[in-house]
């Protein structure tokens, strides 16, 4: 990406030889640079009007290059990038050993990874790695008849985050382009770079393990889901062909769009077609899939590599935050934890059992416990995860078998309708405002559009 300002060319993430601070400034947005300037010198009231003037502006803080670089790296690590590869890190780590290796470089997969920044809070470990990427572009010469091949080195950061409570790790990176002048055989592939970083991460004591969420994701996308749905899919079926399908609206699933393409009327036929299409897409070999997350209102493209599942986030104007990233990663990892160990034999897996329920089926905790011979607490835990994952919707009714004068007392997802005093036909009051007098069950969600919100 290039941007011209004040007669100076600014190239995103360009490595400026001999000026690491300038290299970091090239890697950040103007807002981030302004935040850094404020934090370095709150009383100075520094104004930075453009990227071209950022070096001059940051110098007004009168702090050392090391302090400035440290602050810039801290700010860079606080906001998520577009790409995220997640994995599990089950073992505890001695972080003081990692801290000692700041500014050192480790070679892996033909690249040199420098450990630029390390940080630990009570919730998370953060390590920023950086490596160089060569960019070759054809640049017009001044006489306009000749183009010259120009090589520029750019900085590519990869931020490792490990959440202590869940043992989930992620590698977050902005991605890079190597320019039109780079030959195909010299192009760096993301899986290769990530494999190198993971080797370094392993060497620091983190023990990363791949999480293959492809199969568990299919369970989440079986039937309807109020939390996430697929609106683009690139699949292959052996002996049939490759299909790249996309819905025009993110709130409409691919299967629904296919049904509309075939002009199927609303009714049983359309429902059956959507079910069949969903099953076919799940059973095909997925190259990539694009999901829309209804709570976060963002899109993620998932690619499945040998090193793990990579997410590309499209924020759609929503606030970029690691809270959203962690929520989605935890959900996917949770599905893997429940399904992964039983791939190929999922009959008695609670999440699979729940996903295979017919749309609209009501299930109570004791029914799940009896069906799969589970302890009551485990059954409740599985049902609550299924609610979180969007497969089930909680439904409510007053906890009584007596007739109630003004209420049918059927299952409803609107618990606020029960929030008042009712009288049974025997004259007994039952106060819906007391949650211990309201019974809860769970309903299998239908197609996209049905939710508790």
């Amino acid at each position: 990406m290039t941007q011209v300002a004040d007669d100076q060319r600014f190239r995103s993430r360009e490595n400026v030889s001999g000026d690491y601070v300038q290299t970091l400034l090239n890697s950040l947005t103007l807002d981030q640079i302004r935040d850094a300037a404020y934090l370095l010198a709150p009383a100075a009231k520094i104004t930075i009007r453009s990227h071209a003037l950022s070096r001059e502006g940051i110098a007004q803080t009168h702090r050392s290059n090391q302090e400035i670089a440290s602050q810039l790296l801290k700010i860079e690590a606080a906001q998520p990038f577009k790409h995220c590869l997640f994995f599990s890190c089950p073992s505890a780590v001695d972080f003081s050993n990692v801290t000692k290796q700041v500014s050192s470089s480790v070679a892996a997969k033909g690249l040199d990874f420098r450990i630029a920044y390390v940080h630990e809070t009570d919730k998370v470990y953060v390590v920023t790695f950086e490596h160089s990427v060569s960019v070759k572009e054809w640049v017009q010469d001044s006489n306009e008849e000749v183009k010259r091949l120009t090589t520029v080195q750019t900085r590519h950061p990869v931020v490792l985050r490990v959440i202590k409570s869940t043992g989930l790790g992620s590698l977050n990176y902005p991605g890079f382009s190597q320019g039109q002048g780079t030959k195909r055989e010299h192009i760096l592939q993301y899986p290769s770079v990530l494999e190198g970083v993971l080797q370094v991460v392993g060497g620091l004591g983190f023990s990363p393990r791949v999480l293959s969420v492809k199969e568990s994701l299919k369970v989440l996308l079986t039937g309807g889901n109020a939390r996430v749905h697929r609106f683009r899919a690139d699949v292959e079926a052996a002996g049939v062909g490759r299909f790249d399908l996309a819905s025009s609206r993110r709130d409409v699933t691919v299967e629904d769009s296919l049904a509309s393409l075939l002009k199927l009327e609303d009714g049983e036929g359309r429902t059956q077609f959507i079910e069949a299409a969903r099953k076919a897409l799940n059973e095909a070999d997925t190259n990539s899939t694009v999901l829309y997350w209804t709570e976060e209102r963002i899109i993620t493209r998932l690619r499945f590599w040998e090193v793990g599942c990579e997410l590309l986030f499209v924020w759609l104007g929503e606030r970029q935050s690691y809270e959203a990233v962690d929520e989605i990663v935890e959900l996917l990892a949770g599905a893997h934890e429940r399904i992964g160990p039983w791939i190929g034999n999922q009959k008695n897996v609670p999440l699979q059992w729940i996903a295979s329920l017919a749309q609209g089926t009501i299930v109570k905790p004791h029914q799940l416990a009896e069906a799969l011979n589970l302890p009551p607490a485990s059954a409740r835990s599985e049902l609550i995860y299924a609610v979180k994952a969007g497969l089930l919707l909680p439904v409510y009714r007053l906890n009584t078998n007596e007739l109630i004068v003004e209420l049918e007392n059927g299952w409803t997802d609107r618990i606020s309708d029960l929030r008042r005093l009712f009288i049974t036909d025997a004259g007994q009051p039952i106060d819906g405002r007391d949650p211990s007098l309201v019974e809860v069950a769970f309903k299998r969600v239908g197609d996209a559009g049905e939710s508790g919100n």
Partner: protein, 238 residues
């Protein structure tokens, strides 16, 4: 066969750190939105009054009696005082309306303690753990109301932080009545700095009150504002 009650469901969600949906939050903390809208409209009306014009209207001459009509508040300063008192009372009523039927929270206003007077004390019940901020706050949260038209001031946060120390409180809400705006960088970082020292101040302004009046749940709005304050989000606004 014993039924699975909503109380157990809420408890399980809290233990497994699952966010409750809007429907359940509205059950736990409904808000009388019509009343809230009325109060907000009244607040806007009162703040739009000009003390100078009102004082001038009151200085009328009664020709029958041959004297200036008597009125309790004739001077500009006096009328301004009444306006400020009314504004403060309206904000207090707004805060009470927000949490009136809220199960997890009970509000006590104008509480005088041995060291200070607190505008509002929110006592937290068992089900308060449904919202991360309330869960982290423990037993109580203090609230301060600042209904000035001037912009957000860092001094209010510093003052509230001091009050929190005196009352062994880790979380507080700063209700502000100034015009809605995105908070400036120094205010965002000021809030983060206090949070790093264990004093979490969550600003709530007219923007958030209007969101609740328009249908959002108070606990949900409070939760989002809390996260934005802690993370210093660029979009943090009042």
């Amino acid at each position: 066969m014993t039924s699975y009650t909503a109380a157990e469901f809420i408890s399980d969600c809290i233990n497994r750190k699952v966010n409750l949906n809007d429907e359940l939050l509205n059950y736990l903390c409904p808000t009388n939105r019509e009343r809230l809208k009325q109060l907000l409209k009244r607040l806007e009306h009162v703040r739009g009054l000009v003390p100078k014009d009102i004082a001038a209207q009151r200085k009328t001459f009664n020709k029958v009696v041959g004297a200036i009509r008597a009125h309790k508040h004739v001077s500009v300063a006096s009328v301004q005082g009444v306006k400020s008192t009314l504004t403060g009372k309206l904000l207090e009523r707004i805060i009470k309306t927000l949490v009136d039927e809220c199960q997890p929270v009970e509000a006590i206003t104008n509480l005088r303690t041995t060291t200070a007077e607190i505008d509002v004390l929110l006592q937290l019940g068992v089900s308060a753990s449904v919202v991360p901020m309330l869960s982290a706050a423990g037993t109580h949260i203090i609230g301060e109301a600042k209904c000035y038209m001037s912009g957000f001031k860092q001094e209010w946060v510093n003052e509230l932080s001091g009050l929190m120390q005196q009352h062994l409180c880790t979380h507080s809400i700063l209700f502000v009545g100034c015009p809605s705006k995105v908070l400036q960088r120094e205010h965002r970082f000021g809030l983060q700095l206090h949070a790093a020292n264990g004093h979490h101040v969550v600003p709530m302004g007219l923007k958030q009150l209007t969101e609740v009046a328009d249908g959002a749940n108070f606990l949900d709005v409070l939760g989002r504002q809390y996260v934005d304050s802690m993370t210093g989000a660029v979009s943090l606004s009042i």
